[in-house]
Symmetry: D2
Amino acid sequence: MAIMRLGRVQIRVPNWEKSVHYYKNVIGLIETARDENHVYLKAWDEHDHHSVILEKADSAGLDHLAFKCETAEDLDIYEQKLIEYGVEVDRIPAGYRIAEGEAVRFRVPTGQLVELYHEIDVVGNGMPLVNPDPWPDGLVGMAPPRLDHLLISGDDVEGTTKLFQDIFGFRIAEQLIAEDGESKIATWLFKTNTPHDVAIIKGPQGKLHHIAFWLDDWTEIRKAADLMGKNKVMIDAGPTRHGITRGTTIYFFDPSGNRNEVFCGGYITYPDSPTITWTTEDIGRAIFYFEREVNERFTTVFS
Amino acid sequence: MAIMRLGRVQIRVPNWEKSVHYYKNVIGLIETARDENHVYLKAWDEHDHHSVILEKADSAGLDHLAFKCETAEDLDIYEQKLIEYGVEVDRIPAGYRIAEGEAVRFRVPTGQLVELYHEIDVVGNGMPLVNPDPWPDGLVGMAPPRLDHLLISGDDVEGTTKLFQDIFGFRIAEQLIAEDGESKIATWLFKTNTPHDVAIIKGPQGKLHHIAFWLDDWTEIRKAADLMGKNKVMIDAGPTRHGITRGTTIYFFDPSGNRNEVFCGGYITYPDSPTITWTTEDIGRAIFYFEREVNERFTTVFS
Amino acid sequence: MAIMRLGRVQIRVPNWEKSVHYYKNVIGLIETARDENHVYLKAWDEHDHHSVILEKADSAGLDHLAFKCETAEDLDIYEQKLIEYGVEVDRIPAGYRIAEGEAVRFRVPTGQLVELYHEIDVVGNGMPLVNPDPWPDGLVGMAPPRLDHLLISGDDVEGTTKLFQDIFGFRIAEQLIAEDGESKIATWLFKTNTPHDVAIIKGPQGKLHHIAFWLDDWTEIRKAADLMGKNKVMIDAGPTRHGITRGTTIYFFDPSGNRNEVFCGGYITYPDSPTITWTTEDIGRAIFYFEREVNERFTTVFS
Amino acid sequence: MAIMRLGRVQIRVPNWEKSVHYYKNVIGLIETARDENHVYLKAWDEHDHHSVILEKADSAGLDHLAFKCETAEDLDIYEQKLIEYGVEVDRIPAGYRIAEGEAVRFRVPTGQLVELYHEIDVVGNGMPLVNPDPWPDGLVGMAPPRLDHLLISGDDVEGTTKLFQDIFGFRIAEQLIAEDGESKIATWLFKTNTPHDVAIIKGPQGKLHHIAFWLDDWTEIRKAADLMGKNKVMIDAGPTRHGITRGTTIYFFDPSGNRNEVFCGGYITYPDSPTITWTTEDIGRAIFYFEREVNERFTTVFS
């Protein structure tokens, strides 16, 4: 009876062949379907048909992000709430995307398209539901078990934050506050028990800072970094730890220039978790706890 | 507007002094209050006043377990639902326990006392809410960040499972099914996004199999085991991995004979996560994936 | 100008097909040659042609162990020393084994055949010697980088220990002393800077307790255990830590009944490292530090 | 009958109080003695009285490095060899430093003072030699078990390399070769079974690039980085992996400006290990395998 998770991101990848190869063989996602301009991918431990759609395009960026809702009725309820909130809403018909049902689409104040959906084919995680092993054979690359979160940018951070809070019941795990002591430069929002399902940062309107894949272990972070070395992936920052969320991390770029993250760790959140606030004089430590300084590329490159 | 988490367990510890020392210095919980017959403890990353209460007693065992609800109204709503379900319900007045408000108390079919509460003093996790470090100084022992789950035993596993499902919306992550292919020998239930907040197994009525503390890392499991070696803690099984939940684990006993677990890992759950079923011929692998056999003590000792 | 390392073990494997499959696909050794009754294997980071030879046989056990010497002259020097010491010595001609030169062969007081050799084909570790990656692609199974040590049994532990000390300059890293406070039940001997290259324990004459493969990381130990679970390998003990050597470990059996170990960690040794002594009342903690007790199988099964 | 290990470095620390505090509380070395201008320190798992001497001084840098020899006679033998090699040699009398005997002193072509010594008080590693635990209580900071290696700079890299090879029997594990395909820009030399005990790089004459402390685990690297964050230690690079040696690493500065490293992993070496060669077009990957580029500070700051 609510949003369950960040279920899908659709990413534009101008460098098409290399990007498809990269997401399949370096990240290690599994292709589940393909049409002329899209490749549908899932992480190995996800049961749904796909969580990442690559789109052949002229420029890099985020086509949209989508939350999976628990019930079909959630779409109607949320649609009504959005309309009452003054948000323009579209319906995407079932079958518009492979293996998916209807979706509700709207734009958040920071400019990104967001969809809500419930129906999607379930293909399983490659293991039986009776007496399974802990992991399947044949994993390749970094092999993240799942998509974790994304960070989007735009002007009205507070507007998008408030919308996610008011309509969907997201809560603020952490926030970065401007020197005025009040206005939000960035927010990290959770709906699950993780430290963030989506984050929003002041920056170019309608843009993507990064999508993040979950890794289970600091040792998996090292393996991911080895694979970046082997495959000449461009690293932006890390391996390091975030002050925000406490998670360990590497930022790097796909062959089309979209920033990816592998993320591991962080604390558990609950509805009563207190919001942690960061001030700008500690921004280095907030973003990269070990080094306590942020490289310029990290704060200026979006896609 | 729901149960948020397993918030508290109250454990009977006949071997009083040694047990208090053990939970504080070997497990590494923090004492927050004490009266004549109780010591109140919290794990370092919990914000509430306590999550474990030790009770001076003649025999080991579980006094009760308690779930923290999101709002005060949840208590009324759940109370009403329980009454309609035919369950006898008590109210524990505010102030009955140190730093706590009112609680709703009832007994589940497997015989354990369960409480629901909302009010409890918030004492924080030892770090500021502005610009914090990822962990505080001065941690001792295994230093789990939080209580994770517990496993209770009794005759009517299906009754307690159904009650948790029907009244509180718990879901079954995994289940162990008898040779008849139908009746449940054990269930692992989640309300958060973890693989289990509470589990129920066929066994002596009203008893405790173990309480489990969360550890972040397989390396923390090794450190916990080292501390068991150093402190002559009796290990029951592990370090090993569960087939069920995929988590890594050690089982061991407190000085009073209550079984403890340190648990790490496992997958994320959502309302649409499929239930995984285990059959009895694979019970060894289900419980201890590496060894594929269960020691007798593990299946026969409860407290 | 001395023994460089434990270079080779030859193991008898009656359960031939399954054992060959196991050493190649579960342990993850690489086949480099084969004749009618032997398969030659190397671990991935070894440069020499082979370190493990499997031998088709009627019963499990150790055919021989062999040390690689730094120079061809070492063979003559050691041969002379052995003869002066009263040990009967044979020469194995070049070509007796695939890819090897001459060897000097003798029997130690505990009954095992030991060889010394220098010449062996160098096949490399699968990576270039110019600008290599840290690890090659295509590793399978536990993928240990190298053979580490072995533990042999027999009656005259002190005789074999003394021979290794007097002739080859091995030193005692650790020893287990009988209740008389003097006689050695077991010794752990090093020639490299590791805590042991070979160990000797009181037990059936001329037998093998285990051969051990090196793993780099506690996380690799977990992965090895996962593979034991997946492949139904019989575990003897572990994952655990040794008091002796401090190493982390799993003991398990190949399909022919030879005990294997994966070993990780331990301290560095030097010629001036003090010998650590264990007494029998602490034997549990010496062998398995976490559990502080030794299962009967571990002390009674040899091959 | 040879050099056993890098036994000691003496480091000049102008920022005296902060540096002493840092080496004791952030690195976590143990003070064993002190005179007016020196603090003597050891890592916890070293048995000798000290391995690091801090010296009050006007500028940062390396006073000298010293190798511990196996026997007292080694000093005479090496002294004679050095004289024959044309190297000027001094004798440092016993008692010149606290807890030490005589030393032989000479200067290598790259300008550093090197000492050879055998006698030093043995103080143990804080644990009994009978039935010890795997680690002592009370460790603080990063708590490296031992000093591992150092990297020195100067003009005549080949001269110092050759001297270490010819006189002491060091071998080249890895080397970085100039564009002429021949001349050595840097060499990594081993005498133990580690990938390097000392390394030499083209750079300012007689200078120190870094001293490195050993850590056992990639997780210890993360903990060390956390402590750098907590204690505002300036990080130069890392956590990352070296192409050279495969080790994982962080470079950072002590409060006086001497570069430190924590180093973990790497392969085992033997006298027959092949030399790995790196060419300048791959220098980024050689130094920092993940990022494949070297920051300017790393190549220009020496002390």
